[in-house]
Point group: C2
Chain length 87, copies 2
């Protein structure tokens, strides 16, 4: 399953959330992540996320697509490629 995850988390909690999301997905913009995840892994991620979030203040939206090819991605402007930083 292909997943896009976007979050809007208050600053004091955002570091933890970033670390969590990076464990499961690739970061493509400041608060946007994408990648292939099984349903079980996604549930695991969201379970951990809920433990970090304040549900009435923070927000996560997940878009799921059965296949990556059903989604076309376009980037305008600065591209975030975390692999670059690691090389």
């Amino acid at each position: 399953m292909y997943v896009i995850l976007v979050y809007d988390i208050e600053e004091k909690r955002v570091g933890k959330m970033l670390k969590l999301c990076r464990r499961y997905l690739n970061r493509v913009q400041n608060s946007v992540f994408e990648g292939e995840l099984t349903d079980v892994k996604l549930q695991e991620l969201l379970h951990e996320a809920k433990a970090i979030m304040q549900i009435e203040k923070d927000s996560i939206i997940v878009f799921k697509s059965r296949q990556e090819k059903w989604l076309e991605k376009m980037v305008v402007g600065k591209e975030k490629n975390e692999l670059d930083n690691m090389l």
Copy 2:
């Protein structure tokens, strides 16, 4: 065509970008928008966006899906519903 648009724009330009994106799409999170757009309308939006952006600092990512039903959306936490504010 179903479109998800996420932006990461420096603060001084973000107001203009917000206003632009709202003209074409529904805001579902602080910097996340979605909606049905034709290819022509999307090109129009991106053309206007490029005039606002500083290409080496700001970023827009667009995910396109031929059909909305190919995408499943889940919201965890606070839900942004701008219609609520308008009613």
